[in-house]
Amino acid sequence: MLQVENVSFRHSKEGQDIIHDISFSAGEGEITTVLGPNGSGKTTLFRCLVGLWRPQHGRVRFGERELMLLSAHDRARLIAVVPQDHEPPFPYTVSDIVIMGRASHVAMFSGPTDRDVAAAHHAIASVGIEHLSGRPYTKISGGERQLVLIARALAQQAPVLILDEPTSHLDFRNQVLVLETVRSIVLERGLTALMTLHDPNMALLFSDQALVLGAGRIMAKGKPKEVITAETLRMVYGIEVSVVNYNGTAFISPKVSPRSTGRTT
């Protein structure tokens, strides 16, 4: 169980809190999704959780361990991060990239051992990209890259998985593919997963818990269906939406003004 307790962060002493009094807990084998408009503090929250920024108040615990007090090495054994799609300066192969996930398991004055190589292969296989392992990471598609980064996080063998907008640069098919892969792995390995998404429909489909952030505060948290409602979305995004229920699944549809009322020619 990952427990976030009263976390607040600001850049300078005089400044405003960017996130204020954030508390929630995320369970094993579950995906907790954080929704919220740009600038609502999602990224700040994640940066605090992975130890890049140190919150002024509050604490983050995983089991008995206080995450803020850990070194980068120890933290990497508890939390694996899937960053947003990026381009490294050198054309490493997919397996070179995945094996980097073993950095916290490799001794300082040596390289990856056979055990690390095996863990990387296993991770590559569990996201189904064996056919890519010899390819340069810079020459594959955005969706494939996201799967590679997920494989790298799995190779890290940490119980907590954090994904920063894993679908932001992906086409429709790849969004579904990536999120389905994440969900099956989280269930299979009993990981505690936390991710940010932009699309409320994807959040409804793929999360066990949802958290809606607005202006650095938690506006709603709980079961996705109860949290992602017309009222909360209007409150944080300032737009009107309708929620459609079909076969027990809820869909969000923004209310768009009809075309004819706009310009006339």
Partner: protein, 335 residues
């Protein structure tokens, strides 16, 4: 995969081949038989203790010169590959970052004013100062982008070379001649003592780089990502930069400023064997040694004079840099 294994093997044996061939070429014309005899005589136990001019030329001039060239080649290309990985920038090397100029200033000060201190000490101090200045000048909001880093390297180089000029202006004529000749970059002063200094000093810097080389892969992904993967970035970056600077300072102290090697060799090898530092670092050692031995053999055989090898590498390096810039296009200059 097969061809890659062959290429790797060829690169790995190339320095031995180059060194062997280089022994047979030189200003004083010796027949291959005479060279072989001199080498055989030099062997402990088996050889004879008889002194001869051939023996002196081969054992006291050519062998140490080839060894020194090889060592300096290793130093320059390994430090190039290390700095490129740490700074995530394929366009930097110790020369471009101003480390060579800093080390040169340290050496010039030593030669000119502190004759009792080993030149390596001040070379290292000023080399570290140069890379620290270039790094902090280029750093904005925690990020070191490509173009600013190269620009600050140019600035640091220019500044330290101006300081070297002041030293040249102030020292007595005999010392001036030494400094000027040595600055051009040459192995003509090679002897066994310099080989010993170079080998022992470089070993101290090379050992951590060689053993930690896989971490260069992780660190080249960027500071935040490396930290999230569990690397103590500050500590490791310090070790890598200090080690690279140490080996460059030693190289500069024994052979002057030889530019571009640290840029060209790693780049060519990356095209052949890929960017994985587990392979790239050892192969850069081999490739750098071969390149330097070949360049020096050309330098001392092309004309009747011993052309400073730094001139040869600069003639090759500058067009190479332009080629990389054009090939990389916009990407080379972005973040």
């Amino acid at each position: 995969m097969r061809t890659k294994a062959y290429t790797t093997a060829i690169i790995a044996v190339s320095p031995f081949l180059a060194a062997w061939l280089a022994l047979f070429l030189g200003a004083y014309n010796l027949s291959p038989g005479a060279v072989l005899k001199a080498l055989y005589d030099g062997l402990p136990i088996l050889g004879s203790a008889m002194d001869s001019p051939e023996r002196a030329i081969v054992l006291d001039i050519r062998v140490p010169r080839v060894l020194l060239a090889g060592l300096v080649g290793i130093a320059l290309s390994v430090s190039g590959v290390t700095l490129q990985g740490i700074f995530r920038n394929p366009l930097v090397d110790p020369y471009i970052l101003g480390i060579s100029a800093g080390a040169a200033l340290g050496c010039a000060l030593s030669v000119g004013f502190l004759p009792h201190l080993p030149v390596q000490v001040l070379a290292f101090v000023f080399g570290v100062l140069a890379v620290f200045l270039a790094y902090s000048m280029a750093k904005t909001e925690g990020e070191v982008s490509r173009l600013p880093l190269i620009l600050s390297g140019v600035i640091i180089s220019a500044f330290f070379m101006a300081m070297v000029s002041i030293v040249k202006f102030l020292v007595e004529p005999m010392k001036l001649q030494n400094i000027v000749f040595w600055l051009m970059g040459s192995f003509s002063l090679a002897d066994w003592k310099l080989v010993g200094i170079a080998a022992s000093g470089m070993a101290i810097g090379l050992i951590p780089i060689v053993f930690m080389r896989w971490r260069l892969n992780v660190m080249s992904m960027g500071e935040e990502e490396a930290r999230a993967l569990g690397i103590n970035v500050r500590r490791d970056r310090f070790i890598f930069i200090a080690s690279a600077t140490l080996i460059v300072s030693i190289a500069v102290s024994v052979s002057g400023i030889i530019g571009w090697v640290g840029l060209m060799v790693p780049h060519l090898l990356r095209m052949v064997v890929g960017p994985d530092h587990r392979r790239l670092v050892p192969l850069s050692m081999a490739g750098g040694a071969t390149f330097m031995i070949v360049a020096d053999t050309i330098a001392r055989n092309l004309t009747n004079y011993d052309i400073p090898v730094g001139i040869i590498t600069a003639i090759m390096g500058a067009p190479f840099f332009v080629y990389l810039m054009k090939k990389g296009g916009k990407e080379s200059w972005g973040k």
